[in-house]
Symmetry: C3
Subunit: 112 residues, 3 copies
């Protein structure tokens, strides 16, 4: 199993959620974050170095999926979260060792 | 070391915390999230497909523990977070490469 | 690539951010959490056992970086987040399988 973490613009959350659900991806966790990447256009000179100065609010979407669904999940997020403007966000992928559905105790892909 | 991430109902947080502490698990991080799994009972028809419509607020509990404690942590969460009703939550397990206590610089299991 | 998660005191966030940026680390994600470690000084006796009772608000900083930058990121956080008092926080390190810049589709270290 894999965990896909996508940090995207707030106004894209509904689109991403609907697109994933339409693809049969039935689970996600969302949280409020703030951050910056290479914040071109929002910089300031400090001790001779150019700094990113603002934390911009973003939304983090976490989707745990099977290895078989990974490409679909990533492609769906890429297609729906992209505006082409700086600050569209990032996707991070990690390996997941196990998943458990608390109600039933099911483990692994059966728990997704 | 392992990281156990449990997404549970808010009203279960105190029980889970107390049960883990009672087992000698001395550290956790909690954050507010919202999400959905297979949200039976909260669906809507959209373009002919049935959709989960609501993000339900949940609490995410992160516990970093030794491999030796993993089973205890998982069992304790399962036993205390379960109600048997849909929406009890999920547990996700990932491998952790290192942990460091910032105050002392201790690393690995000594840092837990 | 690696994901460095640091849970630190709120008033250290600006220092950590500035120190990382000064080192050329151009990306991070921040979220509000609460938690406890070995909460010496904030304990209570319950059924004969000493308990940590309070969740203390902290800030979680996530930095995804190359393996080459890992040591720099960790050392920079350690140096800036440390006060020497109990509760300075923890750093957790996990392996990251991939990173993608949503705007361009770049993957791997090119996406950082
Ligand atoms: N290296 C990183 N580590 C952790 N989080 C990051 C990192 N880089 C970016 N992020 C998160 O992703 C969000 C969006 O980043 P952003 O899209 O600006 O990336 P970027 O690399 O600067 O790409 P772009 O050039 O398109 O702006 C940030 O607000 C931050 O929360
Ligand atoms: N695949 C997933 N990826 C990320 N987060 C998930 C996933 N599935 C569930 N979650 C998180 O877990 C929470 C609880 O999920 P839930 O208990 O409804 O799972 P479920 O599989 O639908 O089980 P049940 O049938 O018992 O409802 C969700 O609100 C969401 O935050
Ligand atoms: N085992 C753990 N799992 C998950 N999060 C943890 C763990 N231990 C600590 N944390 C997080 O780190 C924060 C700070 O922990 P803290 O600095 O008190 O660690 P500690 O081990 O008690 O060290 P100290 O003795 O310096 O207080 C906690 O509030 C919690 O959010
Ligand atoms: Mg940017
Ligand atoms: Mg459900
Ligand atoms: Mg402590």
């Amino acid at each position: 199993m894999k965990k896909v973490e996508a940090i995207v613009r707030h106004f894209k959350l509904e689109d991403v959620k609907n697109a994933l659900t339409e693809q049969g991806i039935d689970g996600m966790t969302v949280s409020e974050v703030r951050g910056f990447g290479r914040q071109k256009g929002h910089t300031e000179i400090y001790r001779g170095t150019e700094y990113a100065i603002d934390f911009v609010p973003k939304v983090k979407i976490e989707v745990v999926c099977s290895e078989d669904s990974l490409q679909l999940v990533v492609d769906t997020i890429l297609q729906t979260a992209q505006t082409g403007q700086i600050g569209d966000g990032k996707i991070f992928i990690t390996n997941l060792e196990d998943a458990i559905r608390i109600r039933t105790g099911e483990r692994g892909e059966d728990a997704l």
